[in-house]
Amino acid sequence: MSASAAKGVREVPSFCYNCVAGPDLMTVRVENGIATRIEPCHQAEAIHPGLGRVCVKAFGLVQKTYNPHRVLTPMKRTNPRKGRNEDPGFVPISWDEALDAIAAKLNDIRARGLLNDAGLPRVAATFGHGGTPQSYMGTFPAFLSAWGMIDYSFGSGQGVKCVHSEHLYGEFWHRGFTVTSDTVRTRYLISCGNNAEVSGGVCAVRRHADARIRGVKRVQIEPHLSPTGACSAEWVPIKPKTDPAFLLALIHAMLFEHPRSALDLPFLRDRTASPYLIGPDGYYLRDPASGKPLVWDEITDRPVPFDTAGARLALEGRFTVADAVTRGPDDEIRPQRDAAARTAFTAMADAMAAHTPDWAAGICDIPAGTIRRIAAEFLENACIGETIEIDGETLPFRPVAVTLGKTVNNGWGAYECCWARTMLATLVGALEVPGGTLGTTVRLNKPHDNRLKSVQPGEDGFMVAHFNATSQKDWMAQPTGRNAHRTLVPIVGNSPWAQALGPTHLAWMFASDAPKEWPDPELPEIWFAFRTNPAISFWDTARIGRAMARMPFIVAFAYTFDETNHMADILLPDATDLESTQLIRVGGTKFVEQHWAHQGVALRAPAVEPLGEARDFTWITTELCRRAGLLERYNAALNRGAALVPLKGEGYDFSLATDQAHSVETIWNAVCQAATAALSEGKDVHDLDWFKQHGHYVVPFDREDWFLTPTMVRQGLRYELPYQERLLRVGEELGRRLHEHDIHWWDSQLSEYVAIPEWHDVPERWVESIRSMGADPADYPLWGITTKVMPYTTGNNAGIPLMHEVSANLRNHGAVVINATTAAGLGIANGDWVEVRSPIGATQGRAAVVQGCRPDTVVIPGQFDHWKTPFAKDLPFPSLNTVVPLSLALTDATGSGADVVRVSVRRIAAPAQAGAA
């Protein structure tokens, strides 16, 4: 250590949270004040599931720091006209001038009111990928909290670039904002396009690699052969967007082609609503006195409330119920006499009857025999009846899982896929038990750090669910945000994350084409943007760009110039990853596959001094609050826990005085001490200096807490499956509300509110969208889809040359991936320039001719087509975003859409401006 110190070498502990698959711990090597390289955090090998390693993206952080294209002074726009072809005329200004200008706007707004005449927030903010910017914005959340109402509805890809339906339904059914396999134990994994080896992060990559050595069988169902498909035991090419048919056919095979003993009958009976009786109107038959759902007691041979002690619940069957009620929409209590009833399980079986493997084969282009074999292998590996001991607890062992990929998991068809995936797990009792299908964390429920604590008893024996009101009295007829999430999407709720999980493209669409039923959704007067580039990362980027140009005042935290901050009025250079201070949570269970046996906190401290005039985000926030008269509220928010943890708790008090502006170090010193005191229940209190030495602090996290089912058992709760009575009711109520207000443009979305999902022609919706744009589907004969490569996965890395260089070792980087036979038919050779065209436009790039892609599909990885971001703008890369339309018709009931479009492909001459990439 001393020898190193003598040579001016320091190793600074830090973390990388550039994508949701993190955070991971790392070490920054600093030589003579310059960060020279990133290394893993080897000291964390024993506590981090990825052995203390970080993925390729982290290695770009050195170049990111020293990128000569960085914006290193605050700047203001001098050209009032905004648009892609307008030179913003940015000129450097002082921090004082920049912050005073913003504060003046804020003060003016506060004087007039936080909401405009339409009831919409005058201040809006957009942050990039998956909540990760929050781990780099210091105390900015305390400013947001101090300010009050803010519109988060202008998305940067939410609902399109995430596993949107999984977020909503996963959290509803089993507190899984994202859903994964219990990879360390599973034996058989059906992965519908889940690209764990690319976007699962270091923990997933390590866990899956270990699983392969152990002998797991992963079957990858996807149109092109991704690295995950490559690393699977079997690749099954499926026609895009037909995954619901495949999954429903698996359920059919398991229900109709195998004995019931192949299923986990006790789990279905005791842990799900399978025995609940469904009345003729599609709602649960309820006990007239208590309103509780009825089940059929096989002992007394009569209906009883579901929680009747000593009853033996019939799992399946059809019965006649003499006297019951159903509760329809708007709390309509409907008496039911001698009602024909069937159990929810039977209702599901009835609905699945037509979804045979032979039927699905024609839709998915997968042989029926393959579907049958996969269903059989799934059952065979489910180990019904077996148990395993985890930390001294005996739990069910069901080592089979189903995971879904992004384009499977959003847009039309995603509801069916999410339901079918969860049902596949449920049928064999593999939901939230060792080896099975697990949720990871919660964002629509609280608390975020342990999802098990969000489990509370709700209605009808299920967990509580926080839906937006659809009753006549409480429904939000007037949107409270520009994407109308509380108005249109009941299931998303209204937690702090909910708005950004609404249909975020609607905010952009309504900015120019507002529904006539609502007041003009006047644009926000200030829009804050950080680590986000919606002008690149959304659909129909040209249209998004035009909408953005109409924003009156944009404050962009700017790393380099980019396509979004090109429209900004003020650019603020924040200190980046290696230059700034923040404490964040690590461990426990987080998004994707971060399943730790520890939990704690990790510090990012400056490894190097900020370049130029870049300032720590916490300093910027404090100064902004001071100038905007928010200091007291801001400090109070910090004390409440807006910067990670409450500063006061049982046995400790590190509260900050609310009447003064505190330094960055003072604030984080208090957070460090409060966090360690809270984690250790007062035993350990570590300050900022301690963290600068040690980097992270963890305490054990019970591995049993990876699984929700033990909590459900303890609370006597049932998973709200298979029958979706609640969704059925909510859908009917929402339809009534909308129609009462003469809103009919959401009707096709209402069709998704069904109690048991069945197949509807999902891919045909994309063909139909071609017709609706006035084009002939025959002119667009191929499916265009997207995928990722790890160096760019959800990281804002397009301007980092190292990422480009290493990605070029992959065949699909910056290319249009096309099947060899299809390419030959179009006269396209590997490396040829091609144009991919949809009715809204075209994108160009080089062809990567491969065997590992369906003949009817082309794949454009990543998100490029930059025209402003330095370095990236010189990459002659195609982008699917350029050719995917923003479309209400292609938006599902949850407000999400998928990266899918019908395209044509043709060979073209090399564009004149194409560089030698």
């Binding site: 030589e31 003579n32 310059i34 020279t36 390289r37 990133i38 290394e39 893993p40 080897h42 990825g50 052995l51 390693r53 970080v54 993925c55 390729v56 290695f59 770009g60 050195v62 170049q63 720091t65 020293y66 990128n67 000569p68 294209h69 080896e197 690319v198 270091v202 990559v205 390590r206 690699a209 270990d210 392969r212 050595i213 052969l225 690295p227 995950t228 498909g229 490559a230 690393c231 690749w235 090419p237 790890m790 160096p791 040359p801 190292l802 260089e805 290493v806 990605s807 070792n809 992959l810 065949r811 099947n819 060899a820 036979t821 491969v850 065997q851 590992g852 892609c853 369906r854 003949p855």
Partner: protein
Amino acid sequence: MTRYVMVADLRRCVGCQTCTAACKEGNGTPPGVQWRRVLDLETGTYPNVNRVFVPVGCQHCANPPCMEVCPSTATGQRADGIVTIDYELCIGCSYCAMACPYDARSMVDHAEYAFGEQPTAVEATRIGRERIGVATKCTFCAGRIDAGTARGLVPGQDPEATPLCVNSCISGALRFGDIEDKDGPIATLLAENQWFRMHESEGTEPGFYYIWDKGAL
């Protein structure tokens, strides 16, 4: 005797290029020069297709063809098997690059930088002028090995004595160590799994093993 070898478990590798980036950053190689990289290969015909990720780089052959052809004796071989290049002797004829069956050697004849004409602050500190105009390749991070073993650390087990690519590998595909340590992890790993070496027919005896399945040979 010691012979250091690299093992790449092809069952694990996902082609993420983390090793490529870690090597580039750790060794300060200029744009386009990759001492470690991972190939993305495809075999078969649709729909029966395999895609395989293959880490490559200098194989530190026991009989290195590069050393045989090198006219200046710049290419050498250490007692521990590491094939070296003496940057003070090398004339930069690139003949070794033609002789290497593994496409493992690079040469740049002028300084190049990631962002164009000017070096970044970090590049300015690590230009490595002695490496311009001469052949370069993977060194197995010999400097780390030497510094580590001098402190009693074990290459392949102690990170400070282990090549950066191995340290960085997120899937656990890359392993490193002394194959002559008969009870050591590398010898054990190779004894318990099936492996091949690339272009064995050339008689190069590479020090780079590719594991592809379980079970002893």
